[in-house]
């Protein structure tokens, strides 16, 4: 960590560049975005140069489409992690919301009311998670394993009731909605990343989240409404997972009880690769997006190289351990 400003109190007007560097260096905020982006780009370049069917429009857009939907779900999840909590119920909420929307549509509801009801259900689950964690000071890992099972059960009840029925045509087309000739979710992802950049740099709320994650006791003393912000983040986590679930349900066109299976673990991996920590105080939505993208590229590359696609789980696991081990060892040396 280098201090970018010379010693002394007298300096009044650092140039904007110095200030920006100071902000980056001082907070570790965004510090690992650049290396991560470089790595991701390098992987993409390598694949583009060595495999001719990688850099095709259809391949790139299918990768981005997949990533963009998962990205929707990781938005709230990342910010829950910033506050040193974890929400393992995202995968289940994702599945339940998607299937509930589909089920309501099968029952001839119009789309928007159906989606709205499903999202309200998701929000309620998120609220319960957050409320229980805050009020009873429960370990969120344990609690959300419980809600994960509970909600997964409900989703499967719904899936069984639907019995593999395909959703109405209009809904099946929903995920394929285009905006400026690009899948709408990709547009949303780009917009969200830009928004996240701004949110993380400028919004007081994000700073409060970092404060809470780094030292909850200090945050309490400083009058930050820790409980409320945590509950809000759990609600956000459930709702963003729900939105992703609705898109996914539309994309896979029918109720599938495998939907969102293991999603929570993909997200932990992507968020940690993207700079979040289980010990809170850190996290970056741009990093999470890059983490998802990197995972998708690696998996896609493996297919390109005819490596068993089933080997992908191995790669996710190895990446997760390697990232954290690297982080742990580096931190140990600097401290």
């Amino acid at each position: 960590m280098s201090m970018t400003q010379p010693a002394g109190v007298a300096e009044h007007r650092p140039g904007p560049a110095a200030r920006r560097r100071g902000w980056l260096a001082g907070n570790g905020f965004g510090a690992n975005i650049l290396p991560l982006a470089v790595i991701t780009l390098a992987v993409a370049l390598f694949l583009a140069l060595t495999r001719e069917n990688f850099a095709t429009g259809s391949n790139i857009s299918s990768i981005l489409f997949g990533v963009s939907i998962e990205f929707l779900a990781i938005i709230g999840f990342t910010y829950v992690m910033v506050m040193r909590e974890i929400d393992l119920s995202v995968g289940s909420v994702f599945a339940l919301t998607g299937m509930l929307t589909g089920a309501l549509l099968v029952a001839d509801w119009p789309f928007w009311p159906a989606a709205l009801v499903a999202l309200v259900v998701a929000a309620a689950i998120g609220f319960v998670n957050g409320f229980l964690v805050v009020r009873f000071q429960i370990n969120s890992l344990m609690l959300t394993i419980g809600t994960m099972l509970l909600v997964r059960g409900l989703a499967n009840v719904l899936a069984n009731a639907l019995g593999g029925q395909t959703y109405p045509r209009a809904f099946r087309q929903f995920a394929r909605t285009d905006l400026f000739d690009i899948r709408i979710t990709i547009v949303v992802m780009v917009a969200a990343v830009v928004a996240a950049w701004w949110f993380q740099r400028r919004m007081g709320l994000f700073r409060k989240m970092c404060f809470i994650g780094e030292n909850p006791r200090s945050a309490v003393v400083h009058g930050i409404r820790v409980g409320r912000i945590k509950i809000a983040a759990f609600v956000a986590s459930a709702v963003t997972a729900g939105i992703a679930g609705i898109f996914t349900a539309s994309r896979i066109t029918h109720a599938d009880n495998q939907m969102g299976m293991g999603l929570e673990f993909v997200m932990v991996t992507a968020a940690i690769i993207g700079g979040a920590s289980l010990y809170g105080g850190k996290g970056d939505l741009r990093g999470s997006a890059l983490g998802l993208l990197l995972l998708a590229l690696v998996l896609n590359g493996m297919i390109m190289y005819d490596i068993e696609p089933v080997f992908q789980q191995f790669v996710i696991g190895a990446l997760l351990i390697a990232t954290v081990a690297f982080d742990t060892l580096v931190n140990r040396r600097t401290k």
Binding site: H12, G22, G26, G28, G204, R207, E214, N215, V221, H222
Partner: protein, 508 residues
């Protein structure tokens, strides 16, 4: 030192071969000199008390004796042999720390015998363990079953069990560091009985406490430390509380900047706690602070002062009573609500709360006022920066710039960052906890100056401190807690170390 040593030798009975001898022991932490040439000796089979105010060097002395740290200078002799810290750590010195180091999930017997569980072959000999534990408990008049799970006992009982663990180890020197701080009167009396019985059995005990009646009751000799220096070893014969207090106090206060006593008697009451209680922690606390007043709260370990400070800010909400801010009753006692109502709190332990070590100074000092520095939720970076620079200048915080990290700073500068954050909201009621714990003299003066300035601007300041000279210099009056209750209040001409100590430690 030599004079003192001679005095001590004259006064203490020349026991055959002291079990422990300190010769010119010094220790410093960075710039802070914790101990300076401390020498005393502990005879076999006596109860030897070490007495001193907070910061007098008691815990450093104990750590050196127990082999946890190595002194910079001087020798420590055990049974006449010069020893290294490592040897003492392994040797037969057993120490009971102030903080509980018990296993709440295990039985009483297992807690007593941990590390020395009796075995027959590979099996644990439960019969022997419980029988011995039962004997110990009975011997010391404790009505606890040995199979009881420790976590279900009161903190006082847990403390006694921990002491029994040290007793059971049959070490030749037993060190008890503030053993009664967590005990109620009945439990403390039990402990006194226990110590007397141990002495009768020939056990040597080094006893650290600042409760004078206890010390007078059980100690054979009393060694007084002050400001890291050895003052005197007294034989406990015809000693009174006053004799001890006189030797404990009288620390070098430096230039006494008498606190301005301008607080008008008819200024409005800004903060009042009435009948505030918290289950098992403190009862019926009443405090009133008027605008422009600095009120000190003093209490020794276990007096409930720390819990009281946390309760009145809602960190652990009190169970009953009322809190009034600016004459209005506060319905919901939570830190967030109190901050918005114009109160501010400085946490007592920098390492635990108050700072964000990985965030910049600017972030740290702006944390309580983020909303104010934002418009529609968007932080105005320029104002954050400006505020940080203001604070850095105002408190003369020695940092490279607003983007420096707290962990790169010295303790004093960290403390100043915390105080800046605490005052950032422009609060009308300010609660300061140990405002100068572990900081150098310069930073201490600066923090005091800041507190006085706030009072002069018509704010109400409540200072909790275990540093009595600090309170005396800073406060207009001092509220004293003892035994989890209000013990009394001293103000005006009567305000002196002896008067406060007599309330806090004595029987009056």
């Amino acid at each position: 030192m030599t004079i003192a040593e001679r005095i001590s030798m004259e006064r203490s009975a020349p026991a055959p071969g002291p079990i422990l001898e300190l010769e010119g022991v010094s220790k410093s932490y960075g710039a802070v000199q914790a101990l300076r040439g401390v020498s005393f000796r502990v005879a076999r089979g006596e109860v030897h008390a070490i007495l001193g105010e907070n910061g007098a060097g008691k815990s450093t002395t104990l750590k050196i004796i127990n082999g946890e740290i190595e002194p910079d200078e001087g020798r420590v002799l055990v049974a006449g042999q010069a020893t290294e810290a490592r040897e003492r750590k392994r040797g037969d010195i057993a120490m009971v720390h102030q903080e509980l180091a018990v296993f709440p999930n295990m039985s009483v017997a297992e807690n007593i015998f941990v590390g020395r569980i009796p075995l027959t072959g590979r099996r644990i000999d439960f019969e022997r363990m419980h029988a011995r534990a039962r004997d110990l408990l009975r011997l010391f008049g404790l009505r606890i079953d040995t199979r009881e799970i420790l976590g279900s006992l009161t903190p006082g009982q847990q403390q006694i069990v921990e002491i029994l663990r040290a007793v059971e180890s049959e070490a030749s020197l037993l060190i008890l560091d503030e053993p009664t701080s967590g005990l109620n009167n009945h439990e403390a009396a039990t402990l006194m009985g226990l110590i007397k019985r141990l002495r009768d059995d020939g056990q040597t005990i080094l006893y650290v406490s600042h409760r004078l009646p206890e010390v007078l009751e059980i100690a054979d000799h009393v060694t007084v430390l002050r400001d890291g220096q050895f003052i005197e070893t007294l034989r406990n014969a015809d000693l009174g509380e006053d004799d001890l207090i006189r030797r404990m106090v009288g620390r070098d206060l430096g230039p006494v900047a008498a606190a301005p006593r301008a607080a008008a008697r008819d200024a409005p009451v800004l903060f009042a706690a009435r009948g505030l209680s918290q289950a098992d922690q403190f009862r019926d606390m009443d405090v009133e602070i008027r605008a422009g007043e600095i009120v000190g709260v003093f209490g020794l370990e276990g007096s409930g002062a720390e819990q009281f400070s946390q309760a009145l800010f809602g960190i652990v909400p009190p169970t009953s009573g009322t809190i009034e801010l600016k004459g209005r009753r506060v319905a919901s006692v939570s830190p967030a609500a109190l901050v918005r109502a114009g109160m501010s709190y400085l946490p007592g332990n920098r390492k635990e709360a108050g700072l964000y070590m990985e965030r910049s100074i600017a972030d740290n000092v702006s944390a309580p006022v983020l909303d104010r520095l934002s418009r529609w939720g968007v932080v105005d970076a320029r104002r954050v920066d400006a505020q940080a620079k203001d604070d850095i200048r105002r408190f003369a915080i020695r940092v490279p710039g607003p983007q420096g990290l707290p962990r790169q700073l010295s303790g004093g500068n960290q403390q100043k960052v915390m105080v800046s954050a605490c005052l950032a909201t422009g609060p009308e009621v300010i609660v300061l906890n140990e405002p100068t714990r572990g900081v150098d003299v310069g930073a201490k003066a600066e923090v005091h100056e800041a507190a006085r300035a706030e009072a002069a601007r018509g704010r109400a300041v409540l200072v909790f401190s275990s540093d009595l000279p600090e309170l005396l210099r800073l406060s207009h009056r001092i509220v004293v807690m003892r035994g989890r209750r209000l013990a009394g209040e001293v103000a005006g001409a009567a305000m002196g170390e002896e008067a406060v100590m007599a309330l806090a430690a004595g029987t009056r």
